[in-house]
Symmetry: C2
DNA sequence: AGGGCACCAGAACGAGTGTTCATGTTGTCC
DNA sequence: GGACAACATGAACACTCGTTCTGGTGCCCT
């Protein structure tokens, strides 16, 4: 399984696929999709340029595949966290945010690629991945709706609150450094509270 | 002056400079810094490729110049708004957020370029622009500190709250469409409230 | 009148791009 | 043992890139 740290893609049936995908995320993340070359990816995956095309038919399909892995991992973590949480909206939201923050911290580069380089995909791939992302967002929106309906979230702007929360969480990837002052857990706790406060939920003090 | 809508750069002493800068923002914003070519910029500015080099010595210096204009405009709007606000932290924050949201809405593309393409600058230019951005962020941090000190903002995480607020506001540029359901004013109001709620300020209800 | 300066454009250069091709090598199933 | 698929490679192709070069306008200043 994908554990807390290390590469995003652990293994696939094919010999070098995981290495290529991870190298792609690394390259696209640090230099951007257009700034990174297939030669960079090949170097990072420790294979030859032409061999990449035995695994992926084009650069943009490679990006699409990498983003599919990232989305799947993120979605899995969030659904698992919500599953384990209580039934009330605040604890469900809390756990969902904590899981999302955890993913962003563990896979900062993948998060950056997912938010910045989506637009370089072919229209069909982009549409499919946007749908994926919207599904994740919908999970948050449902929790917000639940809390709004039962009166725990008192914000008058429930419709856009989930998007606001998710964008802050994603932005963590742009500044977080693992050797910085904030640990994984503190950060998750902090953003869970930001989220509940933004929703105008009553907070323990 | 730069009004509510239209191009970011209004005019400079030189004949085509503004057109080039605006075309650069447009090109870099829609295709990314590495995805857009100097030929694209020239086409957008309705001039020749080689003429660009009479105004800017290189592609990355052109990006730097465009971002300097964007930063100056953003900073000017925020400082003016804070100036006009009352002395208390909530109204100062409210007006600062409203001004920032206004800039993002008016110059979505410039905002996207400023957040996504900063990394492609030469180290010196990037450092200078990061300093600019941090100065803007510091304005928010000071307001947060003021409200924390006098007890109106009760969040225990005042240190990171400004960054959280600013990242949500910047992210508006990724999804806002002027023909969408939300008007400029409603959006500003909404995000001002998000910001105050996140800071755990008492809210009129 | 004429020198200088700001502005402009077309052609070219060398480097790097994504992708394809031809050609192995390896291991696995009948 | 031999066919076949999966995996691997270096060389090449057609193209685009940022930048420079060469040459040329028109306008202002003295």
């Amino acid at each position: 399984m994908n554990t807390r740290s290390g590469a995003l893609v652990a293994d696939t049936g094919r010999r070098n696929e995981a290495a290529i995908l991870n190298a792609a995320i690394q390259a696209f993340g640090t230099q951007g999709f257009n700034g990174a070359s297939m030669r960079d990816v090949a170097r990072g995956a420790d294979t030859s340029l032409s061999n990449l095309y035995n695994y992926f038919p084009s650069k943009s399909k490679l990006l699409a595949a990498a983003l599919r892995h990232a989305n799947a991992e993120l979605r899995g973590r969030i659904l698992a966290a919500v599953e384990l949480a209580g039934d009330d909206a605040p604890s469900r939201l809390r756990e969902a945010v904590r899981a999302h923050v955890g993913f962003v911290v563990d896979h900062r580069t993948a998060t950056l690629v997912a938010t910045n380089e989506l637009r370089y995909l072919d229209p069909e791939d982009r549409a499919a991945l946007v749908e994926d992302r919207d599904a994740t967002q919908a999970t948050f929106e449902q929790i917000v709706a639940q809390g709004s309906a039962d009166g725990t979230f008192r914000t008058p702007y429930a419709g856009d609150a989930a998007r606001a929360i998710l964008s802050t969480v994603a932005a963590i990837a742009t500044w977080y450094r693992p050797d910085g002052p904030l640990g994984r857990g503190q950060l998750a706790e902090q953003y869970a509270r930001f989220a509940l406060a933004l929703l105008e939920a009553p907070l323990a003090r």
